[in-house]
């Protein structure tokens, strides 16, 4: 009995490790299959006619599955610490929910017909809903999860409509038969519209984003890492499938529209991120910004796909894919580190936090790497992908098309503006939270757990690795895009058309050298430097409430952009709250009508089912 209790107590740990091992296996298998190349189709037929599970493996899906599996493995390791610390009642339940969620993401990426896709897509949505709802006693979580589930299902409805559009044109539901189909103009427009609404709802495009900044902060941190780092990339994967694999030709305006949506999304996301005072809210809005960057790359590549300019299209697609990988790495890292801070301090309000670096120095260094990666500082990975994107945007001016000449410089300047504000909000994030003194009494019981340090540290290493040596990633990306990006051994990346080149390895070495030199000079040579406390304005021993506050930090930008968004009146919030309320009320009344509590009515349902079945068997039998 004691043995049983012991086993059941620690079973969740065993499960976590098992799943982690499974993901590592999947990750290695992905790499092996990718190098081997080729496409595979796997199908399982069921007892029901017309319903088969169909899976399709090619290099694009392998790339995404690799990302999911890598992050999933690390996430499980991190969750070991996090769950132990939070001490949930139902540990096995949350472990299983999370891992089935990850597996369903992998299966969505693999699925190759409508039935399989919708099945796993729904499993993914519903499990993430439950995970958002995990702390269901908090009012905020409850509201966020309701908005999430309603919006995600509206999205699914639009996705189904776009699938129906394909079905009407091809008379088949297999994705494999949708490759390179040419549709007429009208259907292309409809499918485009439905796909933007459907997948955009999940990815968090501007106007469809409302669930994202609500749901991500309230979920357990490792779940936020999964949702933000991986789940919102899956609609992007479907976009790439739609517009680079399925539909052969489409007008240039599609790409322009996507580009504009992307620019607006990233600007909106970062403006909101800069004024957030809660750790995870800031990260959630920053996810929105990064989705914007990804979507700008996607739109650019769509423009040049429809213009048949293959080399720019592949450059922009490479930037998109690279940024998807980067964002999954550093956003997972940041959410995990934020989770560690929150579990230790029991608050995620920046106006209470401060001075985390004093009691968690290792975690602070790791977070700093993630933050620097987020704002695209050179030796780290964010820089490479944004550089590629800038190259794509600037290179597009070589093509003489009036629309692109107008839109792409604007997009580039918005990207630059976004980068600037991202810098500001990251300085705020790191400076206020990790430096200075705590703004409230915060009791730390123990140190940050080793496993969470190892997992976040591993991600930080991955950030540095892909930043300094991006050739390994570019090897995989080059196999997906039609015109490879020229890579000269260790030292240089060249964009197609000899437009620009960069040597990340040399830059990395230079910066590391400069950093070491700086430390050396500060420590041993310079004798005049005096160290003051951070945020103390050069004074000694100021009271902690006199420190620079997060509100003060974001005050200027709040003032400049006060016309753009107001704190109280959020138009999107109003719309979606209204829709959610209406839908849930409707469901409630429907429930009371169907579940009337009358025995007679339940018997009637049974009889109707029986009649329906007999009738169906008569028709199809």
């Amino acid at each position: 009995m004691v043995f049983y209790e012991k086993v059941s107590k620690d079973l969740w740990k065993f499960l976590e490790v098992c799943f982690s091992a499974i993901y590592i296996g999947i990750f290695l298998g992905c790499i092996a299959l990718f190098i081997k190349g080729g496409n595979y189709t796997i199908s399982f037929s069921t007892a029901i006619k017309h319903i088969t599970y169909l899976f399709y493996i090619d290099r694009l899906s392998l790339f995404f599955i690799g990302i999911v599996a890598f992050n999933g493995a690390i996430n499980n390791i991190y969750a070991l610490d996090y769950i132990e610390e939070e001490n949930y009642d139902k540990k096995i339940l949350i472990v299983m929910l999370t891992n089935i969620f990850i597996l369903s993401m992998i299966l969505v990426l693999l699925s190759a017909n409508v039935f399989t896709f919708i099945l796993f897509w729904e499993i993914m949505s519903i499990l993430s809903f439950f995970l958002v709802l995990w702390d269901f006693k908090k009012e905020e979580n409850y509201k966020a999860s309701l908005i999430y589930i309603v919006m995600t299902h509206i999205g699914t409805a639009f996705i189904l409509l776009s699938f129906i559009g394909f079905y009407i044109n091809t008379k088949t539901l297999d994705f494999t038969n949708w490759q390179n189909i040419s549709l007429n103009q009208q259907w292309t427009i409809w499918i485009f519209l439905f796909s933007v609404l459907g997948f955009g709802m999940k990815a968090g495009f501007l106007g469809l984003h409302n669930w994202l900044p609500k749901a991500h902060p309230v979920a357990p941190s490792f779940v936020s890492a999964l949702m933000s780092g991986l789940m919102i990339k899956i609609p992007i994967y479907m976009f790439i499938r739609y517009y680079f694999y399925f539909i052969k030709q489409y007008p240039i305006s599609f790409g322009l529209l996507i580009l504009i949506i992307g620019s607006a999304t990233m600007l909106f996301g970062i403006l909101n991120a800069s004024i957030q005072n809660r750790l995870k809210s800031m990260l959630a809005y920053s996810s929105m910004e990064n989705i914007g960057i990804i979507v700008v790359g996607l739109g650019l590549s769509m423009i040049f796909k429809s213009l048949n300019t293959v080399y720019i299209y592949s450059l922009a697609l490479a930037a998109t894919l690279f940024h998807i990988l980067n964002h999954s790495l550093f956003k997972s890292l940041l959410f995990m580190s934020a989770g560690s801070v929150i579990t230790k301090t029991h608050t995620q309000d920046m106006s209470e936090l401060g001075g985390v670096i004093k009691y968690a120095p290792k975690l602070s260094v790791i977070t700093l790497i993630g933050i620097l990666s987020l704002v695209a500082i050179p030796p780290l990975n964010g820089f490479i992908s944004e550089w590629l994107l800038y190259q794509g945007l600037l290179l597009s001016l070589k093509i003489k098309t009036s629309y692109v000449w107008i839109v792409s410089p604007i997009a580039a300047s918005i990207l630059a503006l976004t980068g600037g504000i991202a810098m500001l909000s990251s300085v705020k994030y790191f400076g206020i939270t990790f430096l200075g003194k705590p703004r409230k009494d915060i009791k730390i019981k123990s140190d940050i757990g080793n496993l969470s340090l190892i997992s976040t540290g591993f991600l930080a290493m991955a950030c540095i690795f892909t930043g300094i040596l991006p050739f390994f990633v570019l090897y995989f990306i080059n196999n997906i895009i039609p015109v490879p990006i020229y890579v000269r051994e260790f030292f240089e990346i060249k964009t197609p058309g000899n437009f620009g080149s960069i040597a990340p390895f040399s830059i990395g070495m230079l910066i590391i050298f400069a950093l070491l030199l700086n430390i050396y000079i500060n420590k041993y040579i310079s004798k005049h430097s005096v160290y003051y406390q951070t945020w103390a304005c050069g004074q000694e021993n100021i009271p902690r409430s006199a420190q620079y506050s997060p509100e003060g930090f974001s005050q200027p930008i709040k003032k400049i952009t006060s016309k753009l968004y107001k704190d109280k009146i959020d138009i999107f919030d109003a719309i979606y709250s209204y829709i959610t309320k209406k839908m849930l009320d409707g469901l409630e009344t429907l429930k009371y009508k169907v579940q009337s509590g009358l025995i007679q009515r339940y018997i009637l349902y049974m009889a109707l089912t029986l009649i329906l079945l007999m009738w169906l068997s008569k028709i199809y039998g």
Binding site: S596, G597, Q600, I603, A607, I611, M614
Partner: protein, 222 residues
């Protein structure tokens, strides 16, 4: 007048009579009438089973027929009658759907059953009698279910359930020449116990709700 009817036609006729009594139940205003109709329905069923013996030459069916007669035509109606006398002050059945519409719906039920069961055994190449009786059995089942959801009183719902059971037995006899004896005895026992249980339950409903109207049970819902 040609009275030269074959055995199979007579079996069909008895089965149809059973269906007729089932439909007659839906037209009954009063509980004691419904119970009497059930008695006749079970009697017709047992005659059908008894005559099937000479059609299939499967003598185990005799036991089934006798058991049907004993339990369904004598024992259960008596139990029901006693319950009715003991607790029911108001004998009306309280319909959700009134009697005219009930009979009309029964017409559609019968049409649907014959439609649904036509050509069911086409490949088995059995007799046409089997097919018709199966359709009748399905119709009886549906009429039983209809009784259960169209009436408010608990007792008539029990009768509806028993009618449904009769339909199942009839279908079993006609298609697979009766179930194995042990199964059939088990089923009879089940039904009998079910009837007694229903009686006890009805007592309790009466106790707690002061009425046999099951639509009042919806108060139990939160």
């Amino acid at each position: 007048m040609n009275l030269n009817i074959s055995l199979s036609e007579f079996v069909e006729f008895m089965a149809a009579l059973s269906l007729f009594f089932a439909i007659l139940q839906t037209a009954s205003h009063r509980l004691d009438f419904a119970i009497k109709t059930y008695t006749f329905q079970s009697l017709a069923l047992s005659i059908t089973m008894f005559l099937s013996v000479f059609y299939y030459f499967d003598y185990e069916l005799i036991i089934s027929a006798v058991l049907t007669l004993l339990i369904k035509a004598i024992l259960i109606p008596n139990v029901m009658k006693k319950i009715t006398e003991k607790i029911v002050e108001d004998e009306s059945v309280k319909p959700f759907i009134n009697f005219t519409y009930s009979i009309l719906i029964c017409v559609f039920i019968v049409i649907f059953s014959f439609y649904a069961m036509s050509n069911t055994f086409y490949s088995v190449s059995s007799s046409s009698m089997m097919q018709k009786i199966l359709a009748i059995a399905v119709a009886i089942i549906f009429v039983g279910i209809f009784l259960m959801f169209a009436r408010k009183k608990a007792l008539i719902q029990v009768i509806g359930f028993l009618t449904l059971e009769n339909g199942i037995i009839l279908g079993a006899t006609s298609t697979v020449k009766g179930l194995p004896l042990i199964v059939e005895v088990g089923v009879f026992f089940d039904v009998f116990v079910g009837a007694i249980m229903a009686g006890i339950l009805i007592f309790h409903i009466k106790d707690t709700f002061d009425s046999l109207d099951t639509s009042k049970l919806s108060d139990l819902k939160e």
